[in-house]
Subunit: 196 residues, 2 copies
């Protein structure tokens, strides 16, 4: 028989399957449908592997991968909060913190603090790894909005200034990727995907 410890770990890992049903406000790059948190989390992980050379600070890429694999798990009970929704973002931390309490309690006692700490670190941006992870987390949906011709930006009348503000982690922790970001924002303005 599997041990109680392994059963707890399995319960946690089975619960995580819900990530595949949490849909975001950005689409897969083809634009055919919205993408879910599992897909996004995978995509940012491989992006970080490919783009690690652009980190402005020295980073432990392994730790970046751990942060990105788990950064959205709190959405399992808290749901996705649209980046450009000020009301939803007001109580985001409280909702996600309650979700983290509930989710990580499924793990064996010694693993609970370790996994919760990954989320706290990501949210706090207190380490070079958390800052670079946040930059990649911003870049991935920016590309989506650009490739699908701003369909979600247009639907929410998102302004270029709001996107620049949202993308600030890229400017701060991966300046070489900021040039690309600016290029995409300018082109999106020119195409009417974003408004001034």
């Amino acid at each position: 028989m599997a041990t109680e410890r392994l059963r707890s770990q399995m319960t946690f890992l089975i619960e995580l399957d819900r990530m595949k049903g949490i849909f975001r406000q950005s689409s897969v790059y083809s634009g055919q449908r919205m993408e879910n948190d599992a897909e996004h989390s995978w995509h940012v992980t491989v992006m970080a592997m490919v783009l690690q050379e652009y980190a402005a600070e020295e980073i432990d890429i392994a730790h970046v991968l751990e942060l990105l694999t788990t950064h959205d798990l709190v959405e399992i009970y808290a749901g996705d909060t649209f980046a450009y929704d000020p009301a939803g973002n007001q109580d985001k931390y409280q909702r996600e913190s309650a979700s983290a309490d509930r989710l990580y309690a499924l793990l064996p006692q010694d693993q609970t603090p370790r996994f919760r700490a990954l989320w706290e670190e990501y949210e706090s941006r207190a380490t070079p790894e958390a800052r670079f992870a946040a930059a990649i987390d911003r870049l991935q949906p920016l590309l989506s909005n650009w490739l699908n011709e701003g369909v979600n930006w247009k639907a929410h009348q998102v302004k270029a200034a709001a996107v620049r503000n949202r993308m600030a982690p890229i400017r701060d922790s991966a300046p070489a990727l900021w040039e690309l970001t600016e290029e995409i924002i300018r082109a999106s303005l020119a195409q009417g995907y974003l408004s001034e």
Copy 2:
């Protein structure tokens, strides 16, 4: 303007979005729909993080995460090969190798061999990390088949011996997880999800 190097990396990362449209022969755990390669790749990554203590050999977990994040990228052009299809598995390596050549050529020249080597390592099972990654890659869909009451096993009349054979990487590189595997196979036989 973004450099040519960054443009190559972006082309590669945008191409990887196709993983979200490559559907596997196993479902999300709720059983509501089949799951895609991006979702599977994310799920095995977080599984490896949680279950790393069960690796029989000493492993560098960072390297396991890199292997699992990228292990199915070759399916972008080669497609998913059903694990229990002997014909499809005969030319699997050739098809996937051609896919790897095409896919990794999108990267800047110095990154091509590094990423291709990750896939070769995973396929060869030549390192403790590749062996543990393979074990996790087997466990993730086993749970799916168990939780969805063997719907895909029954559709293909899969036999318990074939599943035991397929799960061998678990026995070899994570024996503590093998007990759980055996338990699931026995229960699946008892429930009629698998045939003798």
